[in-house]
């Protein structure tokens, strides 16, 4: 059986593969120095405290070594001196698509953003390179007191909330890339949901890289006040450039007492983007944070969404789907830090490795000794399509305390020839049968996604794999 061939696989990465000529008013040039930071601060007219914050972060970034003692050596191929750290068109985000510059508007129209907004979103922010091009929130939602703006605007207009939480969940020194983001961050969302407000429809942000050698460093901060509920979705694309592009975001979530935050990511970067993202949430008493993370694109993704379960009965959940094709390494996972009694966490990770793709699960669960009644459940399932596909699992679990329990399970499997045979007997082509099996594998996770995403996901993983049944 021809098992080592890489199958034809249609995962629609090409939907984002187009670009318009660059037209930037502000360009910080290539390379990173204190001057770059001064440039960004001057353009954004930022206060001195944020300038100091950025400069301190730059120092931390320079001091920290590349984490290649455990992570992929591919990180060493990133040349920080060749990256462009800030590119912007120089205008404020528009409230209406009519005011958005023509080529930017066309970009987002091709990606279907305005259409989705009309259909099912409560608010949209669309980021083009370093700054948001469009930001709007439906009136009914803003009347409830919900704030949904870009991070720069959040910083300027709502400093009393912003400063209180900014950098508190993920300190600058957390890791090398969090420090890089803290030094040069631009864009991203700032969301505040007042006590008791339940935002009925999702808020969405869309991130687009349009320029070559560009590094996108958005910074998102979401605060759900007591009893509030909010769902946030992000999508990302970039055209295929000849050189590698860097995306390094920091996302901080704060769920105060009884609040619920659901954060959904569908990552479909082109296959030369390094996607190195730090995402973490703090869940206070009885709060619930759910990360739904879907990684299909990028060259190397390193992303381990975490929840610090700080209040009694807080709950954290990570549902993750990763698909690694030829030349891709999806190094994803989850972190659950139990820091209060009776906290519970759940991690379900499903990965599919196709061709020479490699998917890795890396996890951390910790329960310190003074805690009682904490529970964690971790399941990682990996599906290997070809003989040369690869999957790794590296969990780390520390347990102490009373009445705490953890369980971790992982399994690795392939699509069984019998299943395929059964379906072919009933008239499906081999490719259709394979596609159906793969969709079956992720189905119980995909159904947690909002309807529109779940349909989209199934379409994305519509595999064409004639002759690849190993």
């Amino acid at each position: 059986m021809p098992t080592t061939e890489t199958p034809e696989i249609d995962i629609k990465t090409d939907i984002g593969d187009f670009m318009y000529p660059e037209n930037h008013t502000y360009d910080a040039g290539t390379g990173l120095s204190e001057k770059t930071i001064d440039y960004i601060c001057d353009v954004k007219k930022e206060d001195d405290w944020i300038r100091d914050f950025r400069k301190k972060a730059l120092k931390v970034f320079r001091d920290k070594p590349m984490p290649t003692h455990w992570a992929s050596g591919d990180l060493n191929t990133i040349d920080f001196d060749k990256i462009r750290y800030y590119l912007a068109g120089g205008q404020k985000p528009s409230k209406s698509w009519d005011d958005v510059p023509e080529d930017v508007k066309k970009t987002f129209e091709r990606l279907g953003i305005p259409e989705s907004e009309r259909k099912f979103l409560a608010g949209v922010e669309a980021q083009f390179d370093s700054e948001a091009a469009y930001s709007n929130i439906k009136e009914i939602v803003s009347k409830q007191g919900v704030i949904f703006v870009g991070s720069t605007e959040g910083l300027m207009k709502h400093p009393e909330i912003f400063r209180k939480f900014f950098g508190k969940v993920i300190p600058t020194s957390d890791n090398k890339f969090a420090a890089l983001n803290s030094a040069v961050f631009s864009g991203g969302s700032f969301i505040y949901v007042p006590p008791g407000v339940k935002v009925s429809h999702p808020l969405q942000a869309y991130f687009r890289i349009n320029a070559q050698n560009f590094g996108q460093f958005e910074r998102t901060l979401i605060i759900a006040d007591e009893g509030a509920e909010v769902t946030y979705m992000e999508g990302c694309t970039a055209p295929k450039f000849d050189t590698a592009t860097l995306h390094s975001a920091v996302v901080e979530l704060v769920a105060l007492k009884g609040a619920k935050i659901q954060y959904i990511t569908v990552q479909n970067w082109s296959s030369n983007v390094f996607n190195l993202v730090t995402k973490r949430a703090v869940a206070h008493e009885e709060a619930e944070v759910k990360w739904i993370d879907c990684n299909i694109g990028s060259r190397l993704t390193m992303k381990y969404p975490g929840v610090v379960l700080k209040g009694r009965k807080a709950r954290g959940e990570v549902l993750s789907i990763a698909l690694a094709n030829d030349g891709q390494h999806q190094d994803t996972g989850a972190k659950m830090v139990h820091a209060a009694d009776e906290t519970t966490s759940n991690i379900i990770s499903k990965s599919i490795s196709v061709g020479k793709g490699r998917s890795t699960y890396r996890g951390l669960v910790s329960m310190p000794k003074h805690l009682k009644g904490c529970k964690n459940n971790t399941e990682c399932d990996a599906l290997l399509i070809n003989t040369n596909s690869r999957t790794d699992t590296y969990p780390a679990i520390t347990t102490r305390g009373q009445k705490n329990s953890v369980q971790h399970e992982a399994s690795v499997s392939k699509v069984s020839a019998e299943q395929i045979f059964y379906m072919q007997q009933r008239g499906l082509s081999e490719g259709e049968a394979m596609s159906l099996s793969v969709n079956g594998f992720i189905n119980d996770l995909a159904k947690h996604f909002p309807m529109e995403y779940s349909v989209e996901l199934k379409r994305l993983i519509d595999l064409e794999m004639e002759g690849s049944v190993g």
Partner: protein, 442 residues
């Protein structure tokens, strides 16, 4: 170098090495050369660092060579007492008892078996008489799980242990037993075990390790290498009961060739810090290895377990089960990895770590890993950490059994799943007694 204990701080080991050199001046040249190379390696390698992935979660500041020295010979009375304490099954194929890396008792193999070519002898003797066999196999399989420095120290200072070679087609049902005692404050011993089972051979070997005095401080670095040729059936059992002040390493490398079947069971009770490394290499199709371990951690004890199952060839099975019971401030680290290489299709590999926390201050760390490069495999790993089942406890309490006693009984039950796999009922009973004796002293 961020080495925590500069090597110059262990002058006692330095003089130990000089003594070893002069003691082995009459030994074969390759042996002297190998030892010198290992000493050099020991000196050049850095101490483990906090950031080393191989030492994740380990408290490396308790690694300290300070004061460890060459052990002294002990008097006749001491010998007699330790020989008496060496529990032996009634039927054995051969016995070796060592105190402080010196042979004190040797029961040779039955002459009929010796005629068939079975070799069972102390390492010091084997260096002279079976030089070729030893040269080929002595520490030829690096384990590479983090303790390279300590393994090199073993290579340099090791002078005793057991060599067991069972030739093609010879089946021995009775077990071979070796005892390794460490006696005296700061006594350092380096017991070596080399088991070579040729094609279709069948053999069982048991290693016991213990400190003579429960309060002495000892350093023990043991290496055991197992080879199972085509269709060989090898059972390796070991129990260590070092003193609670000891620093102990048990480094194991196992090679399984086609159709071989290997079972290993290691019981770990002693040591203030005991690190075990075990690398099981599946080199032939249809090979089957079973890796079992039982550990009781109490007081301030730390057990650091690192395992690797590498499947080079497919249609093979490896199955690992490590069970840890933790009391007081006991701490365990289980870090395991299953690695299935590209050509090892149709591999079944399993890895299970079960931790039973009996006190809220005990800490269990689990790092169960998988690296799968082939697609037609069945691999799973599971790690669970939990408390005693409330209902089971209630049942025992309701029958008037004190809580502490109930915990013990439930721990015995937790271990029984593994112990009952032992075919030799006497050794099974020895292991049970060792576990029980640990609870009596604490």
């Amino acid at each position: 170098m961020s080495s925590l204990v500069p090597e110059s701080l262990s002058p006692s080991l330095e003089s130990f090495w000089q003594k070893t050199q002069s003691d082995t001046s009459a030994a074969p040249a390759w042996w002297q050369k190998r030892k010198a190379a290992e000493w050099e390696k020991f000196q050049s390698l850095p101490m483990p660092r906090r950031t080393d992935e191989d030492w994740r979660f380990a408290r490396i500041n308790s690694l300290n060579f300070d004061g460890y020295t060459e052990p002294q010979p002990i008097d006749e009375e001491g010998k007699r007492l330790l020989e008496e304490r060496s529990l032996l099954p009634t039927e054995v194929a051969g016995v070796l008892i060592f105190i402080n890396d010196r042979l004190v008792s040797f029961q040779a193999v039955d002459p009929k078996l010796a005629e068939k070519g079975v070799v069972w002898k102390p390492l010091s003797q084997a260096v002279e008489e079976d030089s070729d066999l030893l040269e080929k196999h002595f520490m030829s399989q690096p384990i590479e799980l983090g303790s390279e420095k300590f393994s090199a120290l073993h290579g340099a200072l090791c002078k005793e242990g057991s060599l067991l070679h069972v030739p093609k087609g010879v089946e021995i049902d009775k077990p071979f037993v070796a005892y390794h005692w460490a006696s005296g404050e700061n006594a350092s011993i380096f017991p070596h075990t080399l088991l070579i089972a040729d094609e279709m051979a069948k053999v069982t070997l048991v290693d016991y390790f213990a400190s003579a005095d429960p309060n002495s401080r000892n350093l023990a670095i043991g290496v055991n290498d197992l080879y199972a040729g085509k269709g060989a059936k090898v059972t390796y059992l070991s129990a260590q009961n070092w003193s609670l002040n000891s620093l102990a390493f048990h480094l194991n490398s196992t090679q399984a060739f086609r159709d071989a079947f290997i079972t290993s069971l290691n019981l770990h009770l002693g040591g203030s810090l005991a690190r075990t490394e075990s690398h099981s290499q599946i080199l032939g199709e249809n090979a089957h290895t079973e890796m079992l371990s039982l550990t009781v951690a109490n007081g301030e004890q730390q057990f650091d377990q690192r395992t690797l199952q590498t499947h080079y060839k497919g249609h093979s099975v490896s199955d690992l089960l490590y069970k840890n019971a933790l009391f007081d401030n006991g701490r365990t680290i289980f870090s395991g990895l299953i690695r299935v290489l590209e050509d090892a299709q149709k591999t079944d590999a399993y890895q299970t770590n079960r931790n039973l926390l009996l006190d809220p201050t005990a800490e269990a760390n689990a790092l169960p890993g998988l690296e799968i490069l082939a697609n037609d495999v069945k691999c799973s790993h599971g790690a669970t950490t939990g408390q005693i089942d409330e209902e089971q406890l209630y049942y025992l309490l309701a029958r008037g059994i004190p809580r502490k006693e109930a915990y013990k009984l439930l721990t015995y039950g937790f271990f029984e799943e593994v112990l009952e796999k032992l075919e030799n009922s006497e050794i099974q009973e020895h292991f049970r007694d060792l576990i029980k004796s640990k609870f009596q002293t604490s």
